[in-house]
């Protein structure tokens, strides 16, 4: 007996719709679970005082500082390197076996488990180079981790600028660098910025790499060679050691809000650039 297509469609809609609602519900549940317990903890005091008693009480000021310093250091190193590399690869070289190999390599490194960067950072920066557990070790390890992603997204963004734009610029007598500076980069900016912001987001949420390279100090860092803790690390330690569930949830809430802010600003920046060009 053949079921009329009208009914199979209704059945499909019900099943698919249920799956979708279920999926969205789970994702929302997770956010609400954390925010519900964590938002009440958030206060000016919490954000701007020092932790005491291993984090059982007090606030998360040094941790906020660490959460800002590490990704910033990572981006300062990785963004120029990454964007410069992709500009060079796309605009100043011809497609060849080498460039394909490089692209494949960066694709793979972008997908490699982050723990490998932690392993590398711990052995190379902390131990061999003797930097110890420090913002320097952590920032550099994170930079290595996000570099492939930045190269990849910048390259795609630059590549997607239509050839015609470049040809018009050349026909007007502009040099290659002038074309890149005034035509290609401004048009590729949304994609490039997205890649950078993705990198920042990944650095903020990364835990394993940070613990093994930047350590877990609760003191306000005063030099690049001091150890520090980020919110993700602090949450992990507080929650898993049962030190203070309240503070753990508070840290988690700040962490989620921080990541949301970073991602939302990415969207906003993208839309602004797209709107401006229209």
């Amino acid at each position: 007996m053949r079921i009329p297509p009208k009914y199979t469609q209704m059945g499909a809609i019900v099943i698919l719709g249920a799956a979708t609602v279920f999926t969205v519900a789970i994702l929302i549940f997770i956010i609400i679970f954390v925010l519900e317990k964590g938002l009440p903890i958030l206060s000016f005091n919490f954000l701007f005082t020092n932790p005491t008693d291993m984090g059982r009480s007090g606030g998360i000021l040094p941790i906020l500082i660490g959460t800002v310093l590490l990704p910033v250091l990572a981006i300062i190193v990785a963004a120029p390197l990454g964007i410069g590399t992709s500009v060079y690869l796309v605009e100043f070289t011809h497609e060849s076996r080498i460039t394909r190999l490089i692209r494949f390599g960066t694709d793979c490194l972008a997908g490699v488990p982050s723990i490998i960067f932690g392993l590398f950072g711990f052995i190379f920066f902390v131990t061999i180079l003797g930097m110890g557990w420090s913002i320097m070790s952590g920032g550099l390890s994170l930079a290595f981790m996000i570099l492939p992603t930045i190269i990849r997204t910048s390259e795609e963004a630059i590549r997607s600028v239509p050839k015609a734009y470049r040809e018009v610029s050349f026909s007007l007598g502009a040099s290659r660098w002038q074309t890149v500076r005034k035509v290609v980069l401004p048009n590729a900016l949304p994609g490039v910025v997205t890649g950078v912001v993705l990198g920042v987001g990944r650095s903020i949420e990364e835990t394993a790499v940070v613990i093994f390279t930047a350590g877990s100090s609760l003191l306000i860092p005063t030099s690049l060679f001091d150890s520090t803790r980020t919110m993700a690390v602090h949450f992990y330690i507080l929650a898993r050691e049962g030190l203070s569930m309240d503070n753990a949830y508070g840290t988690a809430a700040s962490l989620i809000i921080a990541v949301l802010i970073v991602n939302l600003s990415a969207y906003w920046m993208m839309h602004r650039f797209i709107a401006r060009r229209n």
Binding site: A12, I13, T85, Y88, G105, V112, I123, F144, E205
Partner: protein
């Protein structure tokens, strides 16, 4: 800016590119240089297929970890792929455009939730439920699979929606003009056309599942045993590296690098499969 001539800029950029690429190559080489000699010294066969992992006695068999990574990844696929694809189809084809334009970015934002939070929820919410219903420690392959499945949902949904929307409108219109319902069009035509993108999204999800460390350390129990059932506690390759790397020395450390080599090779294989799938898409178009 007149300091840099055209050639100067090009040279500067080439130096930048060279440094960046050498830095990345350094990492890859470092891992291989530390890990490969171990494979020859100890024997790749014993390393990969022995289930005896006792570093203190010089035994480095990672088969239990390979098995655990495999089952956790498979489980995550079983959870994430159907839900993700179903969600993508529903949002792309059966909801008004405005709904999709709100829900899709919202889901992508949810992808930004850090993995430690997923892991934590796995420990305090999911593991007790598994313990109640099925017994056992609760910290298990099953918990890992479910949490990872949820973690890759945003990736799968987002990329699948993009692939479905990329199918030319003319395909759909042609089908509808012939009297097919939207659902018939979707499952007989649109999905087949978007297949490579959907497959790519799943492979990306697989990559993320294999590479996840914090969440699995928190919820899978980290036992060194070959999991016989989803309720068994197990240790993935990434967890193994994370748990032991800060104190491993000598051959033990080399074994961990060798594990890194294994993970590297898995990613290379996954990436190659993904790029083949995407290339097929270009040909179809």
């Amino acid at each position: 800016m007149k300091i840099f001539g055209e050639k100067g800029v090009e040279r500067l950029l080439s130096i930048v590119a060279f440094s960046a690429i050498s830095a990345l190559a350094l990492i890859a080489l470092f891992i291989f240089i530390e890990g490969l000699p171990f494979l020859f010294k100890y024997g790749a066969k014993d390393f990969l297929f022995s289930s005896d992992w006792r570093p203190e006695s010089g035994k480095f068999g990672i088969y239990p970890m390979i098995s655990a990574s495999f089952w956790v990844m498979l489980g995550a696929m079983l959870v994430g792929a159907p839900l993700g694809i179903a969600g993508a189809i529903f949002l792309a084809e059966f909801t008004p455009k405005t709904v999709m334009h709100i829900v899709k970015p919202a889901i992508e934002l949810l992808a930004a939730v850090p993995s430690v939070i997923y892991g934590f929820i796995g420990v305090v919410v999911l593991a007790p439920i598994i313990r109640e219903i099925f017994g056992g420690p609760g910290l298990s392959v099953l918990a890992g699979a479910i949490i990872l499945g949820i973690m890759i949902l945003p990736t799968v949904i987002s990329i699948s929606i993009d692939s479905i929307l990329a199918v030319p409108v003319s395909f759909r219109e042609g089908s509808l003009a012939l009297g097919a319902t939207v659902w018939q069009t979707v499952h007989m035509l649109t999905i087949k056309a978007a297949k490579s993108g959907i497959v790519a999204s799943i492979i990306l999800g697989m990559g993320r599942a294999i590479g996840e460390t914090m969440a699995v350390i928190m919820v899978t129990g980290n036992s060194v045993m070959i999991p016989n059932s989803p309720l068994d506690s197990a240790r993935t390759l990434t967890a193994n590296i994370a748990l032991e790397m800060s104190y491993a020395t000598g051959m033990h450390r080399e074994a961990l690098f060798a594990t890194g080599v294994v993970l590297f090779i898995v990613i290379i294989i996954l990436n190659s499969i993904a790029s083949v799938a995407i290339r097929k898409k270009v040909i179809v178009k």
